[in-house]
């Protein structure tokens, strides 16, 4: 009987520690963001997960780094952060001659500075719109660009702008650090909001466009945020769909807060028409 009591107490203490951590995290709201279906996606459920009735959303984020690269590399490019070699070294990565293969490089836990609907996103949108204006002024030329090529380019750019305005995530990772020591100036907060999360990154050596004997370009490949899914409590998600139906367009706004330990929770869910 004694042994049973001791172990039960140990189980209760373990649960108490976990719930205590949750309470500590939620004592301070570091930031609260109103995210939409652009940033919080209903996941596709595979295999055994189909049985689960748990409502959860995937946090979508990206970088805006290599915008001129081809669309087929979009997923890869939207996870790259170009940083100076010295900064990568200061983050604790060993930029070593011998281990330049991508999968040999270890992942590190870093603090990510994420901007929501801020300067980086809006300036990128401005640049795209300017490009469109310029392209629409261009006259076709038999030697350089035919009318059809021009029309295709304009259509692609319009699709890109449309995607940026309506479907792509506005959570943009703009910086990383080994310590949480980002200095966010007051003037920056005027446009958008800033969020600090923990995530994994590893070094990537880019050998493309590198001539002989030149050092490869070093960048960071951002693998994933440590918390990439957000649970929706039943009290707030009674009519939320559990899995994505590709024939339907879901529109919603979810108020999410992040606490002291960089762990999020949902405050409110609102369905939009």
């Amino acid at each position: 009987m004694k042994k049973f009591i001791y172990i039960v107490v140990a189980i209760l203490i373990t649960n108490g520690i976990i719930l205590g951590k949750v309470f500590y995290n939620r004592t301070t709201e570091m930031v609260t963001l109103d995210l939409t279906e652009r940033e919080l996606a209903i996941p596709y459920r595979f295999s055994l997960d189909r049985e689960s009735t748990r409502a959860k959303l995937n946090l979508k984020w990206r970088t805006i780094n290599r915008t001129d690269n081809e669309e087929i590399y979009r997923y890869w490019n939207e996870r790259q952060l170009d940083l100076p070699r010295e900064k990568v070294r200061k983050l604790g990565f060993d930029i070593d001659e011998k281990k330049k293969r991508f999968f040999d490089n270890p992942s590190k836990e870093l603090y990510w500075l994420v901007e929501f609907d801020g300067e980086k996103y809006n300036s990128h949108l401005r640049v795209l719109r300017q490009k469109l204006e310029v392209l629409e002024q261009v006259k076709p030329n038999k030697e350089t660009r035919s009318q059809q090529e021009l029309d295709n380019q304009i259509k692609r750019l319009k699709d890109k702008i449309n995607a940026e305005e309506s479907s792509k995530s506005r959570l943009i990772v703009i910086d990383v650090s080994a310590q949480n020591n980002f200095s966010i100036g007051k003037n920056n907060l005027a446009e958008g909001s800033y969020l600090v999360v923990k995530g994994l990154a590893k070094v990537y050596y880019d050998y493309s466009k590198v001539k002989d004997k030149e050092e490869p370009r070093v960048s960071l490949y951002l693998e994933r945020m440590l918390i990439s899914q957000i649970h929706l409590p039943k009290e707030k998600a009674t009519s939320f769909p559990l899995k994505r139906d590709y024939d339907k367009k879901y529109r919603y706004k979810i108020s999410v807060s992040w606490g002291r330990l960089f762990e999020p929770w949902v405050n409110n869910i609102e369905f939009l028409e």
């Binding site: 373990t14 976990i18 748990r54 929770w265």
Partner: protein, 377 residues
């Protein structure tokens, strides 16, 4: 042939806390009974009724005392049935644990947060209570072990689901908690499967910590197989330091699991040196680990023979063969036509068989000479 016995006095101390010793004694008695029948039928041995009754009552007393202490197999048939029961209880335990997981998965979304937390805690403590109840009431060990495994599954679910509900950052400390719980239940219920889970958990936890010390994220501990070497050596040494006679049957689990955790990283690094911590070229790392692999396997086989640990000898042999065949593959797969490659492997295996047979025969001759000289004396 007559055997002179007056009355057999039971001076034997049947008090033992070692289940292996107790089972071994029962097996010895059964073997004696079978040999006695053989001698009576073929060698003209005759025991008087008094002598037979004396031996039988002596053995009955021992069997009775040992059966009261442990759940033992008293005959070959019982042993065979025991194996069936072990397999059935293992499958039952795993199925019940999986069922518990999916039960929560299925009805999760129907519950509010507070009910979810309550259910998780209740499942952990309730299943523990059931395990203790079955143990104290003296129910069959198999039911107790099934309940213990379900209880471990409930605790894993408890901590994992709390992490999901409250969007907590994953932590390796959860594995330590699960392993500690598995150890407690394993020793309480004498469940070797739980000790296996506990050893695997502790190995992984230490490997994760070793990995974080080297600067990598803990989940990526598998990217550097060397993280497993130190914990494997620690776990292998553990039975020598803490083993209790009553739990000697746990020792092979410690040894085999830790040896597998030691050999697999060596095997991986002997073929893929690029993921080593060593500041050397991949080729140099592979050569070093190949040498280590063969030396280690040979050493483990020698240690197993010296300490009479059959499990250790078998594990060493398996990995020695793996290392050997991996080298053959490296040398000859591209060089030789495939049919010649496999014939060469077969010929080498037959050669090894012939060598072991020769050694075994030499050993038998040696034993026969020793036996003959003892008889002459």
């Amino acid at each position: 042939m007559a055997i002179h016995t007056s009355s057999l006095k039971s001076n034997e101390d049947t008090q033992t806390s070692d289940v292996l010793q107790a089972q071994s004694r029962i097996d010895q008695i059964n073997s004696f009974q079978q040999e006695l029948s053989c001698l009576e039928a073929n060698a003209g041995l005759t025991l008087s009724n008094e002598q037979q009754e004396s031996i039988n009552s002596y053995h009955r007393a021992i069997i009775k005392k040992l059966s009261q202490q442990f759940d033992l197999d008293l005959s070959v048939k019982e042993k065979q049935l025991s194996w069936g029961m072990k397999i059935a209880s293992l499958l039952g335990a795993l199925a019940m644990a999986a069922g518990l997981f999916f039960l929560f998965y299925r009805f999760w979304g129907e519950m509010s947060t507070s009910i979810q937390v309550f259910c998780l805690v209740a499942a952990s403590t309730g299943s523990l209570g059931l395990t203790c109840f079955l143990k104290e009431k003296g129910a069959s060990a198999y039911y107790c072990k099934i309940s213990a495994l379900v209880s471990l599954a409930a605790l894993v679910l408890n901590i994992t689901m709390l992490g999901d509900i409250f969007n907590l950052t994953p932590s390796p400390n959860a594995i330590l908690v699960w392993s500690a719980y598995a150890v407690l239940l394993a020793y309480y219920c004498r469940a070797r499967l739980l000790i296996f889970f506990a050893v695997v958990g502790v190995l992984n936890f230490i490997a994760m910590k070793v990995g974080t010390w080297s600067g990598i994220y803990w989940i990526s501990f598998g990217e550097r197989p060397e993280n497993f070497i130190l914990p494997a050596i620690m776990i292998f040494s553990l039975p020598k330091l803490i083993s209790k006679p009553a739990f000697r049957d746990f020792d092979p689990i410690y040894r085999v699991t830790s040896l597998i955790s030691l050999f697999i990283p060596v095997l991986i690094l002997s073929n893929f040196g690029a993921i080593s911590y060593l500041p050397l070229s991949a080729d140099a790392v592979e050569i070093i680990y190949q040498v280590i692999g063969f030396t280690l396997a040979s050493g483990i086989i020698w240690l197993g023979i010296k300490m009479h640990w059959r499990d250790t000898v078998n594990t060493g042999v398996v990995f020695f063969v793996l290392f050997l065949y991996t080298k053959f593959f490296d040398w000859w797969w591209d060089l030789l036509p495939k049919y010649i490659f496999f014939f060469v492997i077969g010929a080498i295996s037959i050669g090894l068989l012939a060598l072991f047979t020769k050694i075994r025969n030499r050993h038998k001759q040696g034993m026969a000479q020793v036996f003959a000289s003892n008889k002459a004396q």
